[in-house]
């Protein structure tokens, strides 16, 4: 039985750019910005990086494919560099690869960097792309909000919740994240928005309105990971350890087999169950201090609260309206503003989430700082609820 990666790898340093419409900044410079902050934070020499993973989801829209964009931008010294892509879990995939490399003893210091330059597409929303030549013969071309919006009707049908009541809970999700994002200098959207504005916004995909959807942004984030011994050798006192990183990918069960009712995300449940086990967490509701979940859309965050076991089934709308996941609530969610306010430069998002958890655990979060956090959780959900990749990682102090 595998023993997992818990406490075998620590974060030496992290960096994150300001997210937003970085019209004057290319992906290359975003990578440099994130990396230089992480390198300075780590206290390591530039040449100590032994392997690197680049997370970019949409290579045709920004940096190009392969290792070369990262290796060239950072002038890495002919070390092994690999590009990874796993839809919206891409950033966490880069981190997972770097952490596994160190945990395996293949190298002592590894870099994970995610970047995306979405605002060069020339329009709002994610670019529309082929789903594969055979799939294009039959699969509908739905947008991202279109695929996630379907959670709402299915959730209402399963739990007998009126569409208007669900819409109010969804609005609270976005309202709360805008409250948080307003306090974060690195967020793209730094403005509080009223519930009424959210409820009355134009529809994007029924029942998701404009403010139920996350922003579209440019950004990069990076993590340098190493062994606990090397980190201690750098004189670091508070070591933030990787407790777990788990991933779950659809095999067609949701979209082709007749059991799933469309109201939840199976992969989040699978990945969370394994992550809690790997991290040694028995009761997530009392042990997880903050979460950064994949709030691509408000309804995604809503069902994710149940999928992570932080709300009982059918209760997330009520827990949300009760403020359970607000900044001052029991388990704050998106305390940095989330995808809602950072936008979603796909390759960077998972690492941006880890950056906030890392900062919170080190007490660096300024006005957003929560006290007494032992564990922070990040969650990514790529694809669509019916065909997804979910990643769950847990960071905490080294035992």
């Amino acid at each position: 039985m595998a023993s997992g990666i818990r406490d075998r790898v620590v974060v030496a340093g992290m960096g994150c750019t300001v997210f937003g419409e970085r019209w004057d900044t290319g992906a290359e410079v975003l990578m440099v910005e994130a990396f230089e902050e992480a390198l300075a934070d780590s206290g390591l020499e530039r040449g100590s990086i032994e392997a690197a993973w680049l997370g970019v989801a949409l290579d045709d829209m920004n940096v190009g494919n392969s290792a070369l964009p990262l290796a060239t931008a950072l002038r890495l010294r002919n070390i092994p560099v690999t590009r990874v892509e796993n839809m919206c879990a891409t950033g966490t995939e880069a981190l997972r690869a770097a952490v596994y490399a160190v945990a395996a003893g293949a190298c002592d210091v590894a870099l994970a960097l995610g970047v995306e330059k979405l605002k060069d597409t020339g329009y709002g929303g994610l670019p529309l792309r082929t789903k594969g030549l055979a799939n294009d013969l039959w699969m509908p071309y739905g947008s991202a909000p279109g695929t996630f919006a379907q959670l709402a009707g299915a959730y209402s049908a399963r739990h007998g919740i009126q569409a208007e009541d669900l819409k109010r809970a969804m609005a609270h999700v976005s309202w709360k994240s805008h409250q948080n994002g307003a306090l974060n200098p690195k967020a793209h959207l730094r403005k509080a928005v009223s519930i009424e504005t959210i409820l009355n916004a134009p529809l994007i995909a029924d029942p998701l309105g404009l403010f139920d959807c996350c922003g579209v942004s440019d950004g990069a984030a990076a993590a340098i990971v190493t062994t606990p011994d090397i980190a201690r050798g750098l004189g670091k006192q508070d070591l933030i350890s990787v407790k777990a990183i788990q991933l779950s990918a659809s095999n067609g069960w949701e979209s082709q087999y007749g059991e799933w009712d469309g109201s939840y995300v199976r992969n989040t449940r699978e990945a969370a169950t394994r992550a809690y086990k790997e991290a040694g967490i028995a009761d997530p509701r009392s042990e997880i201090g903050i979460t950064e979940v994949h709030d691509c859309f408000s309804v995604t965050e809503l069902v994710t609260m149940e999928d992570l076991g932080l709300s009982d089934e059918g209760r997330a709308p009520f827990d949300i309206l009760d403020g359970r996941f607000d900044r001052e609530g029991a388990i704050p969610c998106q305390i940095d503003g989330g995808l809602k306010c950072f936008g979603h430069p796909v390759g960077a998002t998972g690492l941006r989430m880890a950056y906030e958890v890392y900062g919170q655990l080190l007490g660096r979060a300024g006005k957003r700082q929560r006290e007494n956090i032992d564990f922070g959780l990040t969650h990514n959900l790529g694809g669509a609820p019916a065909n997804s990749v979910a990643a769950v990682s847990i960071l905490g102090r080294l035992d």
């Binding site: 947008s143 379907q150 959670l151």
Partner: protein, 436 residues
């Protein structure tokens, strides 16, 4: 007006589905003057969409809007086994033209078989190059000549001689015709022919013109379906269609249609369209600015289509060893109990009942007629497919709503002038026009 994703092929297919189910192994004829392809056998696509075998004889006819009636005559006189004639028409017209107001989109089909409900007792053909209107390589939109000239000359040179001869061959007097299906080039022709030869029967094509417009090659077949709905055994139906001449048939009714109200029902359903810009866009008469999101690459790989086209057109999934049905077929089945590759048994999904698992109306992605309705569809036999929803004309769709499948254009690659076909899910019933 048809939806953006309907064309002569899909309209013909929709009409052909019911009659196709009454024959084991028909040959198939696709009739149209607005076939989307000049080189690509559209009757072959129809055969695949109907689940007919590759050995099914298939041919496309066109050239004039009487092509479907000409094909019907050939099928009735040849001894070549069952023949399914499927006519579809979606003809382009210029904005503001009279034809844009008087023409409609539609499909109709007829099955010729030994155990039919009417038999041919008289037929006549007159070919004459009387150009009442034309569409050409150099002028793709219709150009119409003077209506009074057409009326007078069409009656004299084609319609009256053909009708008279068909009745003579049938051994009946024109006044003995009980119901007329007379597809006239311009109004007034039937009245003139009737006055000249003594026909007193009503022309059922008028009903189609009023409700749906002139359906081109499908018009007379549609009229024949209306006639067979109400004809009494032993009575005679006159079918006459104009287009570079005339084919006239006299049929003696021998039985009753099983689906007795299908044609009338089709004329009574739909949704009113009050937006002329939308109408023009659906007609393809104007090219709107769809924005950069419409610029997605829609190229179809011919090799991929060759591998999967039959299953796509026929909506054929597969049943695994445990009995679970899935679409599309895969080497390793989706069943959680599956433990490696296996061969799946073909299962056609096109005619099976299904329900909505999840749904949305997407206003972000490009579609030629927003919003884009799509979601997960659950078939009663276990298959589950992510699908586009169409014909959302009544109440908003919701989880659990029953669905039926419609053969439609999946995507149009405008850059290369190619189109793909697949099935879309639609509400079980269209709303009644009188309720709108």
């Amino acid at each position: 007006v048809a939806g953006w994703d309907e064309d002569a092929v899909t309209l013909a297919l929709e009409a052909a589905r019911a009659p196709a189910g009454k024959s084991d192994k028909p040959s198939i004829v696709f009739a149209s003057t607005s076939a989307p392809f000049r080189e690509r056998l559209q009757s072959g696509i129809l055969a695949e969409a109907l689940g007919l075998p590759p050995s099914c004889p298939a041919s496309d006819v066109g050239g004039s809007r009487r092509c479907a009636v000409s094909a019907l005559r050939r099928a009735l006189t040849d001894q070549g086994g069952d023949v399914l004639i499927a006519a579809g028409e979606r003809r382009p017209t210029a904005p503001g033209s009279a034809l844009q107001l008087s023409w409609g989109d539609g499909g109709a089909a007829a099955l010729v078989a030994d155990d039919g409900v009417a038999r041919l007792v008289g037929a006549a053909t007159v070919n004459v190059d009387l150009v009442d209107l034309y569409m050409s390589q150099d002028h793709p939109l219709p150009y119409q000549t003077e209506e009074r000239f057409i009326r007078d000359e069409a009656v004299k040179l084609a319609l009256l001689p053909a009708v008279t001869e068909a009745c003579r061959e049938a051994g009946i007097e024109p006044r003995d015709v009980a119901l007329a299906v007379f597809h006239e080039p311009v109004s007034g022709c039937y009245k003139a022919v009737a006055a000249a030869c003594g026909i007193t029967a009503p022309n059922l094509c008028d009903r189609i013109g009023e409700a749906a417009g002139d359906l081109g090659s499908a018009h007379a077949l549609f009229g024949l379906a209306l006639a067979l709905e109400q004809a009494k055994p032993g009575s005679h139906i006159l079918v006459a269609a104009f287009g570079s001449g005339c084919d006239a048939l006299v049929l003696e009714v021998t039985g009753a249609l099983a689906d007795a109200r299908a044609a009338s029902d089709a004329l009574s359903r739909g949704a009113p369209l009050a937006n002329y810009s939308r109408f023009l866009s659906l007609c393809g008469a104007i090219d709107l600015d769809w924005g950069p999101r419409s610029e997605l690459e829609q190229r179809t790989a011919a090799s991929v289509l060759a591998r999967h086209g039959r299953d796509m057109h026929g909506f054929v999934g597969g049943r695994d060893a445990r009995g679970n049905v899935q679409f599309p077929k895969t080497a390793i089945p989706v069943s959680p109990e599956a433990d490696g590759p296996e061969r799946l048994e073909d299962v056609r999904l096109a005619d099976l009942p299904a329900k909505i698992v999840s749904v949305t109306a997407d206003r972000l992605n490009f579609t030629p007629d927003p919003p884009f309705h799509f979601g997960l569809v659950q078939f009663d036999n276990g298959a589950r497919v992510s699908m586009e929803f169409r014909d959302v004309e009544g109440l908003p769709l919701k989880v659990g709503d029953p669905l039926r499948m419609r053969f439609r254009v999946k995507s149009i690659d405008r850059r290369r002038g190619f189109r793909n076909y697949f099935w879309k899910a639609a509400p079980l019933d269209r709303p009644l026009l009188e309720d709108a």
